[in-house]
């Protein structure tokens, strides 16, 4: 029992600190990627290539004046960024970061909690995440904040449906809601072709589901082209207009954590998680470590996609966003689900 507590504590602590570290450096990466795409240099003052820029930014955030508007609901105003940060950090608990390490004859699973409803847990955390934005936006007592909060909530509710429906196809194919089983189920051979062991990724059988999920992930993390809740040309700063200092920092930070976690979820659901071709040839512990490296490689690729899209596509109009969500993605995901179900019945895969 004590071993288990120590083992899980170390795992939780390392996942938490890695999440925070990555989120910190994503602010730097975002600016560098933006600079690259716009043919600029980007931050280059703090340290070599500007790699200490996040530290400088964090220092600035902490030392700025923390202002709470007089007409705001004070406690809710403080709670908003806290909830956003909390839900963002909670989601990493069910992601299988690797297979398992064998430390002195003890199998240590590299997943904090293998709950049998892992994927639903992620959906739940995503749907609760909207409260941070809603409460913060409402408590600010500012029309622009309120508009941003309302946009965020309706956008999230709309895209959750298509997201859930696209996940159902994956769940049907795997026969489990546990992310561990979903990741482990992608370790076989792709279409039975030899030499492709470890490449049986869901994206090859569920390309439509993957695209739907990716679009929904953009909408759920409030990233461009769906960043209408903080659309600066219409709403000043959206839900965080009234926020300053580290409370603003928390909202921005939560967005980067969400980006990291959704990249991890996309990699696990559709890109084989920790699996890569040739993983089965390695010895046990090396397999786990190489698996972690592979998963992080995939995660960084998807983070790059998030940034790439942000600096490529212009923002949607609000009615276009709703049209895409309700009239295109939901019917498409239902169709995808029916085709998957029909195919599985036809091939007797159930």
């Amino acid at each position: 029992m004590l071993d288990l507590i120590i083992e899980k504590s170390i795992l939780i602590l390392s996942v938490f600190s890695v999440t925070l570290l990555i989120a910190t450096y994503l602010t730097y990466t975002e600016r560098k990627v933006a600079a690259f795409l716009q043919d600029r240099i980007g931050p280059d003052r703090a340290g070599p290539f500007g790699i200490f820029q996040p530290l400088a930014d964090a220092g600035k955030m902490f030392f700025k004046e923390d202002f709470i508007p007089a007409a705001s609901a004070k406690w809710l105003f403080i709670m908003g960024p806290g909830i956003a940060m909390f839900t963002a950090c909670m989601t990493g608990a069910v992601i299988p970061w690797g297979t398992s390490l064998n430390i002195m004859g003890r199998e240590v699973s590299l997943q904090i909690a293998d709950v049998n409803i892992g994927i639903l847990y992620i959906m739940g955390m995503v749907s609760i995440g909207v409260y941070g934005i809603m409460i913060g936006g409402w408590a600010s007592n500012n029309k622009y904040s309120l508009m941003g909060a309302i946009r965020a909530s309706s956008q999230m509710i709309s895209y959750e449906l298509a997201m859930g429906l696209s996940i159902i196809s994956i769940v049907m194919m795997t026969g489990s809601l546990s992310l561990k089983d979903i990741a482990a189920g992608q370790s076989g051979q792709l279409f039975g072709i030899p030499l492709t062991t470890g490449l049986d990724w869901n994206v090859f059988v569920q390309p439509v589901g993957f695209i739907i999920f990716l679009v929904c992930a953009f909408a759920e993390t409030n990233r461009a082209p769906f960043d209408l809740p903080e659309c600066e040309s219409e709403l000043i700063g959206g839900y965080h207009t009234e926020y300053s200092s580290m409370k603003l920092g928390f909202f921005l930070f939560a967005e980067y954590i969400n980006m990291f976690i959704s990249s991890a979820v996309i990699s696990t659901l559709y890109f084989g998680g920790y699996n890569f071709p040739g993983i089965h040839l390695l010895p046990h512990n090396l397999q786990a470590i190489a698996g972690i490296a592979a998963l992080f490689g995939k995660i960084f690729f998807f983070i790059f996609v998030f940034m790439w899209v942000r600096w490529t596509l212009p923002r949607f109009r609000y009615d276009q966003l709703m049209h895409l969500g309700w009239k295109i993605l939901i019917p498409l995901s239902i169709l995808n689900m029916l085709v998957t179900a029909g195919w599985m019945t036809f091939r007797n895969l159930l």
Binding site: L120, G124, I128, Y131, W138, S153, M156, E160
Partner: protein, 168 residues
């Protein structure tokens, strides 16, 4: 351990349920109700029904309450906007709710303490067993309730639809 959690969750859920009724600001009421839902989900987890717990959170805390909050924020109700109630209205509401309370206590007074239901299979709440039970034993009620949901959804859409103006 489980018992301790049961008491903690029960205490918080009763407290927040009371706060739902007593807080003057409708937004605060909704937020307290969300906390109540969380504690109820905690009770489900204690009963080894994780699927029910998480679906409860997704549906009630994640969707229904977001819509409630959404509407309340749009209407922007607050303490000042609450209509002033007449004295006669207050007296009537006190009498009627007192009668309801009396009826409930009278009904509960004679009720026996329920036997804690002993589940035939303590893992019944796990998603695999639940799915088997729902789709094998109770498939007809399950499908009927889905039809009920569908028809209520169609009804809501029909009500929400704008009146078509005839142009001919």
């Amino acid at each position: 351990m489980t018992e301790l959690f049961f008491y903690i969750f029960s205490f918080i859920s009763i407290l927040t349920a009371l706060l739902v009724v007593f807080s003057k600001n409708p937004i605060h009421s909704v937020l307290y109700l969300i906390v109540t839902f969380f504690t109820i989900a905690g009770q489900y987890i204690l009963m080894n029904a994780q699927f029910l717990a998480i679906v409860h959170l997704i549906v009630y805390a994640g969707a229904v309450m977001v819509l409630f909050l959404f509407v309340l924020m749009l209407l922007n109700l607050n303490e000042n906007a609450e209509p002033k109630k007449d004295l006669i209205l207050k007296i009537v509401s006190i009498i009627s709710s007192g009668l309801l309370f009396l009826t409930l206590t009278a009904a509960l007074k004679d009720a026996e303490t329920s036997q804690p239901s002993i589940a035939t299979n303590e893992n019944l709440g796990l998603v695999k067993n639940l799915g088997n039970v729902l789709f094998k034993e109770y498939v007809v009620p399950f499908e009927l309730s889905s039809i009920l949901f569908l028809s209520s959804m169609v009804g809501a859409v029909m009500l929400g639809k704008k009146e078509q103006t005839t142009n001919n």
